[in-house]
Symmetry: C2
């Protein structure tokens, strides 16, 4: 079976000057993979006519499906629609169902008067199939040319997501007899990328060509991913599972989880399964650990709350850290995080708690306590573990790495039922 390839073209100068980070492509790629379509190219071009035109020419040579996002808004820099009209040799017509929907949106949802510019959103090239957009005023459009499929969608993430899920994926599933793409991912901690590669060398050599092994190091942990392509889903999965099990067994001492889940989801899942609760007392991470733990649905089952004690007065007044502790040892110390974790555990009456205090930079360091010094404490009713870290990243990454380390420490405590 021929593998089906797609390319993603994202349009907008903001992508080329670095003002906006593209998250749409990742979503589209994931959804396409689920139906066995591989993305072989992803390109970003600006709002220029020739750039977009050339991208359509070039990318349609490489792929069966060309997915385009961006440039469908109501303003002058949005040129994708007229360009597509010309590219596919159509003329603009008013699409009545879209006009009705845009009118409805303005009258009932936005409750703003509708102007000519908004009405234009309902104009589409007469050579396209209109893909209704329930989340906004710009509809998606599907074109066919020389047996290639082109789909244009707005760049606003939830509009793009809605059209992808409700139109694009069902249509592509029907049009393409695709094979299957399957991924298996595991997360390790406590072993460097090179050592890990050395450890699984013999297993890696045995992996057949249609399955690829990828190493994804991040925050001092390494994610391993097996990706396979095949015509028979069950056979492919069996084969993937075989190699995946070999990897898991070899790496059992370092295995965090055998799913593609972020660490906060691993912790949330463990807590939910065990019916336990957690709280955090955060200084240097400023609420980021609480944010991670609450970013996924269902977090109210295990997350009680957090005290973000950025100032020392909040450490004293809300978390009841002793002023002598702060004076004698400082806010960034084993003693302070020990009191923070003990007190937040009692204050919020949870089974587990995390406390962090550190210097994230770029300012605030001293010779004794340099930027990057972090103390983390994790505790249950019966156990308390503290650990010092010396990070050497920028502020943003220091915050992320501190959160990852704290979550991994509490994960170990929960896994061990301690």
């Amino acid at each position: 079976m021929k593998k089906t390839f797609a390319t993603i073209i994202t349009i907008g100068d903001e992508l080329l000057i670095g003002q906006v980070i593209d998250t749409n492509s990742a979503f589209i790629a994931q959804e396409l993979n689920k139906i066995g379509i591989a993305v072989n190219h992803r390109i970003a071009v600006g709002d220029g006519w020739d750039d977009i035109w050339n991208a359509l020419d070039e990318e349609s040579k490489l792929a069966d499906i060309i997915l385009i996002t961006g440039g469908l808004g109501p303003t002058a820099d949005d040129i994708t629609k007229p360009l597509l009209c010309k590219y596919f040799g159509g003329k603009m017509i008013v699409h009545k169902p879209t006009l009705d929907f845009v009118t409805y949106l303005f009258e009932n949802v936005l409750q703003r008067p509708m102007i000519e510019r908004n009405r234009k959103q309902a104009e589409v090239p007469d050579v396209c199939t209109v893909l209704h957009n329930e989340k906004g005023t710009a509809p998606g459009m599907l074109f066919e040319k020389e047996s290639k499929i082109f789909v244009a969608m707005p760049g606003v993430p939830d509009e793009m997501k809605w059209i992808t899920t409700n139109h694009v994926i069902p249509i592509l599933t029907q049009k393409f007899q695709t094979g299957f793409i399957e991924h298996k991912t595991l997360l390790t901690a406590g072993i460097g990328e090179s050592f890990l590669a050395e450890k699984i060398k013999d297993i890696e050599t045995q992996i057949p060509a249609h399955i690829k092994l990828a190493y994804l190091p991040n925050f001092g942990m390494v994610r391993l991913r097996l990706t396979g392509f095949g015509e028979n889903k069950d056979a492919l999965l069996a084969e993937l599972n075989h190699h995946f099990t070999l990897l898991k067994n070899e790496l059992s001492d370092f295995l965090v989880i055998d799913e593609d889940l972020p660490l906060e989801a691993v912790v949330g899942k463990l807590l939910t399964e065990k019916g336990k609760t957690i709280a955090t007392a955060e200084s240097c991470t400023g609420g980021y650990i609480a944010h991670l733990l609450t970013s996924r649905p269902g977090s109210s089952a295990f997350f009680s709350g957090s005290v973000v004690s950025y100032s020392n007065s909040v450490k004293e007044k809300v978390l009841h850290v002793k002023d002598t502790t702060l004076k004698d040892f400082g806010a960034v110390s084993k003693e302070t995080v020990t009191e923070m974790v003990t007190n937040v555990l009692a204050l919020m009456n949870t089974d587990y708690a995390i406390a962090v205090s550190g210097i994230m930079g770029p300012d605030g360091g001293s010779p004794e306590k340099p930027v990057g010094l972090v103390w983390i404490a994790v505790a249950s009713k019966n156990n308390l573990i503290t650990k010092q870290f010396n990070l050497r990243y920028d502020r943003s990454r220091n915050i992320h790495v501190t959160a990852a380390n704290a979550l991994n420490l509490i994960r170990q405590l929960i896994v061990d039922n301690r």
Copy 2:
């Protein structure tokens, strides 16, 4: 003067299956823009030999500078280095300074034994200029071919950033007599994209061709960006400022800030300038507003802390919301956020406070209180404002939009000195 163009090639299957979001490109694009180099293309390719090879061929036709990230690690899926060696007709040699540095890293920083695989990191094609990487084991490499510059860097963000800042930008500045690219950005709130476009139509028509106006709507706000290219920096800036001032004046009723700053930075800047402090009491945002406010350097000057009261017991016990209030009106109500904001203001003794409570979804809604219902309260010592929102996004976007709305409400209070 000829405009200098760059293209960014990011390498890694994880980018094509949607497992990882590319943030490197945005950083590189920003840095290049600062020295007058425009990115005209950005592409992502997988870890396949032919895909990378073809990308080098194709992109070097379009650009003067080709920047490559990823695929330089020590594992089998990292093929960029041998490929570049072949592409530029070199042979691999050990680079002594890199070997010394890698050895130093393992002995002194990582404190792990060094294996053959790590030693390989010091091998480079003999036809490249090595760009020292202070942040990791994989050095950057610069190649020249037919007057085009190719630079390969590791994909790990802070290694890539360090090499870009310390090597790539200085070298490119010297090699290319570039013009200037300048941006001016303003942020508006309370006006839709179409209306805004209508309002500034006459100004927009007057903007010359070498200056582009872009509309960037997000979270119910619209960012406007002017981007100009010119040979004379002062003349270009004067021209940009002229059109920028016209826009600012026309939009004064809706203007949030006339810089390219995120809303949390606007709030932080205002508080710092006025010497005021802030605290948050967060239910549904789970610490995200605190995280935003502490994500930038210098936040300890204005941010005291936060109580993330996810459970009702924390609302009662730590924030002292009355149990009768929770019983009579529920956690998501005007009454509850009013008590939350008043109490956190007193508890943390700050000048301003934010409180939020809502239902972010996908679960937890009811006919009376559906998913997307949010109450926000902002307060100073003398003022208290509450506002209800009915959001209709997914959980993640509901959290982001709630934070943006809360920050904009407190911003107005601070601006008005109320």
